[in-house]
Structures are given as structure tokens and as C-alpha cells.
Symmetry: D2
Subunit: 428 residues, 4 copies
């Protein structure tokens, strides 16, 4: 069930003018498909449903006395500054909240030893930050002590904490909320989930995704040009996609030049008549060039001989570099055969995630930020805002924690197979 917690009863009238308030009771169905009406009901005869986001008529915090904090964690992604800007603008102009701080370098900013000073955020300061990539607050990876983070929130007298971050951040945010509850503090915690990979469970689309696709498309065009620029040219592009291939699949479809797409969800062998190398060779001989797009999480089982996988500071599995691995294996393969190839390897990673959001993502981020503000002011806590079936909703922090994968039998992957002409399987 998608129950959203509140810090307490909302007793202040909202300062927002207009007549478009949203009731806490307004919810949308989790499953809005209909075959048979029975499917709409759960055991207790009430269908599973989700709370709609939006301004509440009555709010929990008195705007004049409210202090808000914003923190950004994990890797960069187009649109973070747009979200920050929208939160500050929304708090300031719509609610009259004037006391807003930006925590620097992620959760490190709560730990005094690091010596990061907070930024004071206000409209004039954030006005143009959406034209910059990255996060004006900077970010960091790695765990920090939950108790000390709450100590810091408490000392700073923060009323609402807005967290922009990925999986790991949302897990930490959940722990922070738990600790706040244990201490019986009245601090609301609102998350805005971030992942450039577009693999958030339940969420229609993660912010920054369209911008990322645009950038990947440009890189693929370069790889295509390079592959055609030399005899037996191979353009090999490694992009993001740790656990899911949404970016790789969508970039393949948005453009026409990829001939082989590799994603984490579809494993493959290097060797064997049906394996990756022979498949690549056949296409290369036939057409004289080939463009390969590989998501960083693809083919990780190729490194698993020892059965152990490492994790980084944020607890994410440390991936072996599949791009370099493929590059080396392709070069070795053709060297053995005495065939002169011309392989151009491109790893654009940081270039893609650090550009500013395009206009579409910018508008999306603006709304995510606004709805986060409405939720925070209403006293909602332990939750994230997201777009679900084209409606902005509140979801419990845990609800988005599992990854949405590309279904190897689904429509998206089928279209990729047709677009590239690659075989459905490259297993021996």
C-alpha cells in the first residue's frame, strides 16, 4: 500500500491564492487497467491507490517560521539545478519561506569535520542556475553517519529537508526519516529521485533522461562517422546504464546508426559461432563498418569467474570496464586473424551527465521541485514526488527503490533488435 506519513495535522491555511488545491484524499489507482472490475479491488475491497501531489489548502508548517534545507547526492545528472531552483522559487514566492540553506557536497555537508559551509539560497541567487550543468551545491558519494546527520538537522533547526539523489541516497533518506521519527522530531523529509538511467520503479520517466539521450545521439553520430572513415572501421561507444539498458535502447531507437546494442539485461558470450565476436565480424565483413553501443553494466557476468563483485563508497556494485574489455578482445581477435581493423573507442560518460537540462527536462524539473515544496509544506515526510501515469504523485521512499529493467521480451527490446538487425541472442 502506498501510505504517505505526515508529521501531524495541517493547521495553517495555505498562503497560495487560487482555487486549485488538492485534497489528501484524492488518489489515483495503482492499476488503472480494466478487464474485469474485480481486479480493481484488494482483499479489503479497496483498490490499491496512490496519493496525488499538489498544494494543500491547509499546511503543516507556518511559512514565516519555516527553515528548509536542500541537499544533492550521488552522480551528476542534467536538471539538478532546475530542481533546486524550483524548490527555492516555490518556497519563497508561493509560501513566503525565506530561510533556505543549501547543504554542500551531499551528506558530507552535515558533518562538521569536512568544513563545508552552507549556502544561503534565495531567488536572485538561483535565478539563472538552470543554465548551468551539474549541481551548484556540489555532491558527494559515500555513507555518512545517520545519527550525526540528524544531529545537524536538529541543531540547524531545519524543518524540511529536500534530498535530490539516487537509490543509495533514497535508502539513506529512509534511514534519516526513521531516526527523526525515533527522536520524535518534527522534520519533514522529501526526496526527488534522480537517476540518469531512467530505471526508477513506478516513475514514468526520470528527469534528465531526454537530455542524456540527445547527448548520446550526438556521440553515436561521431562513432558512425569514425567507423565509416577507415577500412573495417569499428566505432565502440560505452555509455551509462549500470543495471538497466534504457539509455542504450532509447538512444539506439532515436537514431539510425547503431548496429549492435549491449545492455545489462541481455547477457552474451564473447566466443562461439553465435557469440559477440563472430557476430561483429560477420557484420563488419559484410558492410565494412560497425557501430557498437554498450551500457556500462552489460556483460558483467564475463568478469564473474571469481564470483565476487566489489562495491563503491555508496554501496553500488563496482563495475568492471566492459568497454575496455570489449576493445581489448576485439583487437586481439582480429590480430589473431591477421585482419587490420580500425577501432575507435569512445567513452563520453562525464560529457553526457554534466550538460544543462534541455527545455523539456527543465520544465519537468520545475514541476518536480514545485510539488516537492507543496508536499514538504503540507507536512508530508518519508516520501518522494514523481510522475506516475502522467500525474504528479507522492510515493513512500521505499516504493521506488527497486529498478525498472528493460524486458528482453518486451516491445522496447524488440524494436531495438529490429533497428540494429542484431540477433536476439549472442550466447554460444
Amino acid at each position: 500500500m502506498f501510505i504517505i506519513n505526515k508529521l501531524g495535522k495541517a493547521t495553517f491555511p495555505s498562503p497560495i491564492k487560487g482555487s486549485y488545491f488538492m485534497s489528501d484524499k484524492k488518489r489515483i489507482l495503482f492499476d488503472n487497467t480494466i478487464g474485469d472490475l474485480k481486479s480493481l479491488r484488494t482483499a479489503d475491497d479497496r483498490p490499491e491507490s496512490i496519493e496525488l501531489a499538489g498544494p494543500r489548502k491547509m499546511i503543516y508548517f507556518n511559512p514565516e517560521e519555516t527553515k528548509a534545507a536542500i541537499v544533492t547526492c550521488g552522480g551528476l545528472c542534467p536538471g539538478i539545478n532546475d530542481v533546486i531552483r524550483a524548490i527555492v522559487m516555490g518556497l519563497h514566492y508561493r509560501y513566503g519561506v525565506k530561510d533556505i540553506v543549501g547543504i554542500r557536497y551531499g551528506f558530507q555537508g552535515f558533518i562538521p569535520e569536512y568544513g563545508h559551509e552552507n549556502l544561503v539560497l534565495y531567488p536572485e541567487f538561483v535565478k539563472d542556475i538552470h543554465t548551468l550543468g551539474g549541481s551548484i551545491l556540489s555532491s558527494s558519494r559515500g555513507h555518512q553517519d545517520i545519527g550525526r546527520i540528524v544531529d545537524s538537522l536538529s541543531e540547524m533547526k531545519v524543518d524540511i529537508l529536500f534530498c535530490i539523489g539516487g537509490d543509495g541516497t533514497m535508502r539513506a533518506t529512509d534511514l534519516i526519516t526513521g531516526e527523526i521519527n525515533k527522536r520524535n522530531l518534527k522534520i519533514g523529509v522529501v526526496g526527488i529521485p534522480k537517476t540518469i538511467d531512467n530505471d526508477l520503479n513506478l516513475i514514468d520517466k526520470s528527469f534528465g533522461f531526454d537530455t542524456a539521450i540527445s547527448e548520446v545521439v550526438k556521440v553515436i553520430q561521431c562513432a558512425h562517422v569514425e567507423s565509416r572513415g577507415a577500412p573495417l572501421g569499428i566505432g565502440l561507444v560505452r555509455i551509462m546504464g549500470r543495471e538497466s539498458g534504457h539509455i542504450a535502447a532509447n538512444a539506439t531507437l532515436a537514431q539510425n546508426d547503431v548496429n549492435l546494442t549491449l545492455i545489462p539485461e541481455v547477457s552474451f558470450d564473447l566466443d562461439g559461432e553465435r557469440g559477440f565476436l563472430r557476430t561483429l565480424e560477420r557484420r563488419l565483413i559484410e558492410r565494412g563498418h560497425i557501430v557498437i553501443l554498450v551500457a556500462e553494466g552489460a556483460g558483467q557476468d564475463l568478469f564473474m569467474s571469481d564470483g565476487v563483485r566489489k562495491t563503491d563508497a555508496s554501496g553500488n556494485i563496482k563495475l568492471q570496464d566492459i568497454g575496455i574489455h570489449l576493445k581489448t578482445n576485439i583487437e586481439d581477435y582480429f590480430k589473431k586473424r591477421g585482419t587490420d581493423i580500425s577501432l575507435k573507442y569512445i567513452d563520453p560518460g562525464y560529457i553526457i551527465r554534466s550538460v544543462p537540462a534541455d527545455a523539456g527536462d527543465s520544465l519537468y524539473c520545475e514541476l518536480l521541485g514545485q510539488y516537492a515544496v507543496h508536499a514538504g509544506m503540507a507536512g508530508k515526510t518519508g516520501m518522494v514526488v514523481g510522475l506516475f501515469k502522467n500525474e504528479y504523485v507522492h510515493l513512500p521512499l521505499k516504493a521506488t527503490s527497486s529498478r525498472r529493467k528493460v524486458d528482453p521480451k518486451g516491445n522496447l527490446w524488440m524494436r531495438v533488435l529490429e533497428a540494429t538487425g542484431q540477433p536476439p541472442s549472442m550466447k554460444k
Copy 2:
């Protein structure tokens, strides 16, 4: 009720491989909000619902013998070529339909006197057309005789007609479907609705909209630069938006530089202490410059003294040029006052609608085209494909014909008022 007609029973197995077929019975609720379960039901105890798009296991047409035609009507919009490409690719690769013609210059292409020859469409031909703006089929406005269009379809032995076009086109398409039915022909008619204004009823977002916003944002930046480049500088930008202000409102929010936004949904007076001219003057004196964004359909009541409005060849109301009207009035106003202003008028219309779709729109168009193909092959007719609550659905042709407006009391317009700082009303 959202009932989709079919030409007849689907008797051919789909050639598509995979297991992701969609049943005709799979529908989603029209209203997925829940307060009280009763609201889910109509009089006959069945809730209003909408058919989901997707490949059907059994299809109506035998792909080997199927002939498809594509026509594009009305004004240009980013993404038309992406839709054409997706239809051709989908028909060819997923169903094996090889006989595809492109009708040139809209419905004119069906009328022999015009002498427009059809194009033969195939994958190699459409492969890269998504990098071009406009429509490779060209377009036209204006009515053509419905009977003669159906004569032509019949003579050409077209089985499925794909129509990409706006309001007027969809009305004509509905009449074509009616005439086909009357003659008892087995020709399917599938629409892909197009409007750069994003004001289609029921549809989440019209294709090309994000691309258009990006372009408008660039123009606003220029207007901003110009307005600041001269003493008492006024940047006046007229953009599209015949009956709705979605583009104007969203472009205002995607960017920070508009100080006054005018849309069709909110009328205003030129004169009077609270009117447009005095409002403009106050801001101009105070800040030294101003940027005004006006949707072409705004302020049309200012021209209504005679109570008559003209219509163009497609039956659209012929709008008076509000941009020029404002320009003239502003110049006269300040001339009378003896104030030297520097007004720069920008009307970028054609520049915005003729660019290629960005990556996000490109992906969206690809899916619209694919789903149109699935619908057409399944024998669906008199319908459009669209995105409804983030699901691709089938809607009757008539369902999208009314316009979605910007609500002057809603969240979108409130955010615009806050972003610009303009008064809620500029009526005398």
C-alpha cells in the same frame, strides 16, 4: 464511451515475434482517480474506459497483400517525418508490408487535377528523414471533396490510410471514414493527431511540443538581449498558440526572462490604468527594459468590434495579427507621451515549427508511428493513437477534437503570474 470500430474479424496471425501482444479487451480507466469506488462506474455499472494500443496477436490484414498510404495535412510541426519513418519501418520490418505510398501535399494528393505524384516509401528512403524538419510528403491546407478522396483510395486499392494532421484534418478524416463505411469498403483509417500548441483534448502531450519550447526559449533570450541593449528597450515576441497558451506559458516557465505573457485564455484591455499599456509602462520605467511574449490567439476580442471573424481555407478562424497590433499601439502610446523607446519586434513562427524534432520528441514520434501501424494492421478504423496517462491508447477520431485550454485559475497560469510578476488581470 470510447468505442473503437474495426473493419471486421482479425483472422491472420501476426508475424511479429515475441510475447508482448496486447488484447483488445485490455483497457484503462478514463478516470483513475478514486475517492469513492462508486465514481468508477457508469450507469450500467461499467466504468468509462479506453482501449490500449499495441500489437494484436491476430490481425485483420494479410501483410503480403496490404497496401498502406500516408498523408500529412495542415501546418508543419517538428516530428512529422519521424512519424512517417516509424510507420514505414513498422509496416515493413514488423509486418512485412512492402506496398506503401506517400500522398503528396495533403488531401490535394488524392485529387488528380493537382497532378501531384505519389512517392513510393520504403526503409532506405525514410531512413534518415528524421534529421530533416517539415514533411517529406509536403502538406496543404483547405478542404477537398470527401467523395473524391474515397474514390482515389478505392482506385489505388489502399487498405490502410494513415493521416497526420490537426483538428481540421481529423474532422475530414472522420468524414472520410463515414464515406468509406457508407460504401462498405474495407479501408482502415488511422489518425496521428498533430498540433504544435499541445492543446489536444485527453492527450498527455502533442508531439513536437518540447522541441518548439526549446526554440521559443532561444528566441526569448534574443528578445531579452535586445531589450537590454537599448534605452527603454522592449522585446516583443509573437509566437504560435491560436486558441490556447500552452506554448507561451511553458516557454515562460522554462526560462527566466519574460516579464509579460499574453494568452488567448486571459483577455485584457489595452487602455485604462490597469490595462496593458500602463502595466507595460510601469515596468519599463522601473526596470529600463521589458520582454513581452504574446500567443497569436491572444487579445482577439480587441478586433471584434464588428463581431465577425474570418476563417481560412481549412476552416480555422483567421486571426488578426496581435503582434503588429500591440507593436503599433505601444509605439503610438509612447510617441504621444514623448518617450523614446526602442521596440524590437520578433515573429519567429516559421522558424520554430520547421526544425527537426529533438531526441525526446523523436522517440515519442517513433512510438506513435509504431502504435498506429499496430492499430491499422489489426483493422482498427476511425481512430487516433495517443498517449493518455502515459499509456498509448486508441481514441475515436472525435474524442480529441475539442481543445484543451490553459485554466486561468489553475496551477500553470498561477506559476506564470509568479514567474513574470505581471498582475492577474489587465482589464480596465
Copy 3:
């Protein structure tokens, strides 16, 4: 002869480190072609030559006590902010000049009644201004009293005035220099000539020109798309080019889609079998669409029936709008013939001149600014910096005042005729 005046003897050693100083005596030949050595000599056996720009070992002003002012006049052009930035950076970092003011709104900024306050300029302030279009100082047109400008310079104790502006500005700057000399003041005046039209006499290329061409090319692509998007489609684009057609000619060559280019240097008739309208009609009928590019100064003789031409506030001739004139005449022509055309008129003017400079122009502007600083500090006055035969030089203010035209018999125009396929003459 290209003699550069100096305020007096340079008595301070330059604070610049390094060994790349340029001597005042280092000059390059005005005419570096060689047939016969005699041509190198003037009557007094000395060839005409031009002074090279660059840092001087000894400078006239004591950096610690120097005050500089920057003013920008006339219309906007990509790169103005880059020049401002380079002047400030160069003065500050290379010479240690800390007292720099920006005059606002052109020469108006010198006249107290306008009430424009000066900006204080320093590195941190100008650091990122090259990412913005326009001029951070704003600009204005129109004459101001020369005596009062010099009064103001004198009262402000300005030592060096840097003027960025066009023809009219350079004429005014020359008068200012004269007045300064008459009063025996020691104020240096250095110009950086600006014209988006690339028609400065002697100067290889005016800054902002490449950026402008890039923007015009985008607009032509849109016009091309529009012209092909409708039956008998005509894309008519009016661009800048008051007295010369360099932008129109180069944009035509940089791109492939213009079919008819009109420039001020080549007059044409509307009527007659060989005239513009019949030429247009022939191409339109033959190919179904046409793109026309017209420089704003083209065809002005069509308006000369009364023999009088008006001038604007800066003394520039006021041009009639040839774009609208052609539009009206084309529409009337085809109306009379009963032919339905689809004419799309695009006038992108302000959009093109208000974008930021591209990287190439940015680098060029940086050097112009640097060399202006070196000249100013060395006590040079009544001069401009410019690129002449790929060397940065000093030229007297008057030397660049005549316009460089497109030669109707030269290589550039021949290539345009070949690219468009238009007839060499469209006179009756």
C-alpha cells in the same frame, strides 16, 4: 598614408613580462603584391605601409594612475561582450590598470540628463559575459553633442576611451578625437570597429560575422523546409546587409538551399520578362518551390521614385522594407494569375545579431580587445585596431570608414550565381 597619432612620448616601461614587444617602426606593406618592385614605392620612394599592433616596450600611461572607459554604440552584434571582457582583462592583468568604467547606453551615457549610471568593470564582473549576447553596457543610436562628451571625459578624468561601434560611431569618435586635440587634453581614443555586415574597408573580417552566418544558415534551412512543405511553396528570408551583400552571399554559399539571392550591389527590376517576378515564377513552376534570400539594402532603387531617402537618428539612410515589398508584389503577381502559392516570409533580424559569439569569433574578439589595450596604453589615439592581411594593425579612424562592397563581377558573386543558378541579371 596610414599615420597613427600618439598623445606623446612613451616614458613608462611596460609591466608586461616576456620578450615579444612590437616596435612602432614595425610596419607591413599596404600593397604586398609584387609584379615589379617599383610598385612597392610611393613617390618619395617609400611604400605605403601600416603600423603593426602589439605591446610596446615603453608605454605612455602610468598604469597605476590610468583610468579607462568603454562605450558601445549602434546595433548589436555577436562578440561585443567578448571585446569588453578582453579589454577589461587586458587592462587589469597585463597592465595593472584597475580603474575601468563602462559607459551605459552608448554616447547617451556621457550626457548627465539621461541619468545613466556608469558601471565599474573588473575581472570578476566580466568573467562570464562572453556567454551572453548583446552588450552588458547596452547601446544607443543617435548623435550626442561632441563638446559635452569631451566635457564628461574630462570631468571623469578618463585617460583612454575605448569605443566599440559602427560607421556612425567611428565618425563621431573622430570628431571626439579632434575636440580632445583642440582642447589639448591627453585622452587617448581607440576604436574597435563593429559591423555585422563584414563590409569594413581594409579589414579582413569584422567580428561576429561567422556567428551571424551560422545563424542565417539555420534560418535558410527553415525557409527551405517551409517552401517544400506546401504546394508552390516560397520561402522568403530578409536578412541584414544595409549597403553590402556579404552576409547574403556567404550564407548562400555556406549552404545549399537558396535559389535566388538579392544584394544591394546588384539592382533588379520586378517586372519584365527577365525581371524578378518572372524569374521566380519560372523556377517555381519548374521545381515546385523556391527559397529567396534578400539583404535589407537590396532593391532600394525600387523605392526611389520620389528621389528622396530618409535617415535615422545615427545618420544612416532609412531603408524601405524590401522584404515586405517583395512579399506583397509576389502575392499580387500570383493572385492576378490565379495561381495559389504558399509564401512564408521570415525576418529573423534581431535573432541573428543577439546571439553570443561562437568560439572562433570569441577568440577573434579577445585579440581585438587585447590589441586595443596595447594601443591605448602606448598612447595611440584617433585610431582603430583591425586584422589586415592576417596581422593585427593600427589604422587611422578614417581609413575604415568607406564600405567594402561585393563586386558584381568578382569571384564571390560568380560563385553565388553558380550556387543558386539564378541569371546574372534580372533587369528588364
Copy 4:
């Protein structure tokens, strides 16, 4: 001396219309500086001078019987397709030469065993190729037998060979010309020198350079965003520049965010108090982030302990990867100190060189191609076309073979030092 060879006497009148022919005798001075007139003269009392490019009134080849071939060699660079297009257009439209072949994959295309088939080139085919990056002819590296290349030219009855390529290509082209002369064949050889590094001796600017700078600037912005996005963030960007640092230096100046630029011309030590690592550390501690731009040829002496350097297939020195070397050393350095840094390494190489030329480069390439055609038709051979002091000239193949370096005491490098704030020397 800059003497240009000719195949023989030009006996055909040029078919070009117009009056802008250039005489073989029109030359410009090699040294156009003037201090003292004597410096203008060589021993035989004639100053060193260079032949001007342009159409000749009389030409050597009969256009109707002329066959031309175009070949592109070496690495990709923005603008190659523009040059190809201009050659084809110029030959076809200006001279009426209809027999033009494109040799595929560089000099490999002349050797039958490789099996590369020639392309037939004509206007419709090349019309839009300037919108594509790379070379439509593809390219290759490595030596081919000179005798066999001439055999092939002879068998194909090629009259003029146009070679687009870098250093190595020009050396090979020189050998081909020699072999042609030895065999007494009447085949003209015209080079269009290509290097993205802008380090051609004598040539004002190599084509593609401005476009490359634009792309590098975008990457630097990303590195800047990344460096600021994490605690102690280091953005390390490796770009091209094998033997010269022009791209690195100019990209640093075109933008504001590089804090340390490393070029081949200025050697440095990693260790020592004044070395690279300590310099980096000081800046990093002080400001919290740093962006480093390194040209691929920088610091190669760090790898020279064995005193041997390898060469690739084209005879170019094989560079060790300074980017990876710095990355490893930086990481090790801070690891030893126990400091957590966040280093983001970006190697955009192929992305930068494979984009299409921007409008400015496009126009430049068009002229280079045109002048190459004029030279070829006039019977000039063993030469290249280039821009010298803003004039298009003919230079002997050997004249451009030495590299133009960045002068570590010159204006360009001084400006870089000032822009970055880095110390003049990072030697121990």
C-alpha cells in the same frame, strides 16, 4: 624560393565567365614587414614571394577530356567533405569537367588488392555531404607503394589528383609527383593540407580548427561542471595536439574554466616543489576544484627514459598516453597523502574531429576546394593551396611540411598563463 611547377603551357581558354582572372605573375611578398626597404630583397635583388591562387585565363587541361580524382588520407577533421564538395562543384560547374572519381580509403584505394571500388562523384551526389562529419571517401593511414599508386593513376587515365591529407600524406604526395615527373606523365597533383592542430607552417589557419575549438570548449565546460560537482574535484581533459598546443591554448582562451594547460612546447616535471603535482595540489586545496587541459603530445619526455620512440603506420611518432599517465600519477599522489579526491578523466578525441564543419569552416573549405580546382586546371602540380596573410596562394608541397609551434615566450602562451594563473614553469 616558392616556385610552382607546371605540367606545361596553358593553351586552352578558361570556360569561366567574368573578369576576375589571376595572372601567374601576380605574387605576394613572403615578408611584407617593412623597416628598411632592403629587407625586401634577396641576394639577386628580388624579394621572396608567393604565387597567388585564382582562376587563370588560359588553362592547361581541356575540360571536356579531363579526368580528376580525389583522395582523403589520415585522420578525420571537420570540413573534409566540404572540400570534396567544393572540388566536385568547381570542376563540374565552373569548368565543365564531368569525369570525377573518388578514391576510397586513402592511398589503399589505388592498390587493387584491397578491393576498394571508386565512387563516381557528381553535383547531386555531393550536394549535401557538408552536413556530414568525416569523409564520404573514407580514409586510411600507412604507406602504399608509390610506383603502384602512379601505375594506378596512369591506368585510370587520371589528369589531376587532389589529395586532402596531413603531413605524412603531403610527403607521400611529393614522392608521387616525383615519380610522375620521372615517368614524364602529364598528371597534375594538387594538395589541400589538413591538420586539426592548426600547426601548418606558413598557413594562416588550417580548416576545421574553429570547429574543433568549439567542441573542445563544450567538453571543458563539462569538465568544469564535474570538477565542481564533488569534493576536491579534478577535471582532466586530454585533447589532440601531437606536436603543438594551438588547440589547447586557444580553447583555454576561448573559455574561462581551465586552470592548468599543458602543451608539447612547454615541458614540465611531475615531481618537485615546483612540479606539476604540487602545483595542482596547491590550487586544488585553495579553490576546491581544478580543470586541467592536456594536449596529447605534452609531457612526452616523461616517457623517454629508454630514449626510443615508436612510430605508427604513417610514420608518425607513436605517443604514449599522457592523459592516462597524469590520471594515474595524480591518483597515486593523493592516495599516498590520504586525500580523497574526485578525478574525472575525459578523452573526447574522436568526438571532436568527427563533427561537421561549422559555417565559418564550411566557407573556408569551399574556397580551398575552389582554388585547388583552379590550380589543377591551370596545370599546376606538386603544390598545395593555402591561406597566407589572408590571400589564397600556391605553395610547393614541401613548404608546409614543417610544424608551426606555440612560442613559449610569445603572446599566445603569455595570454594562456594569464588566463589560467598557472606558473610559467613547472620544472623542478
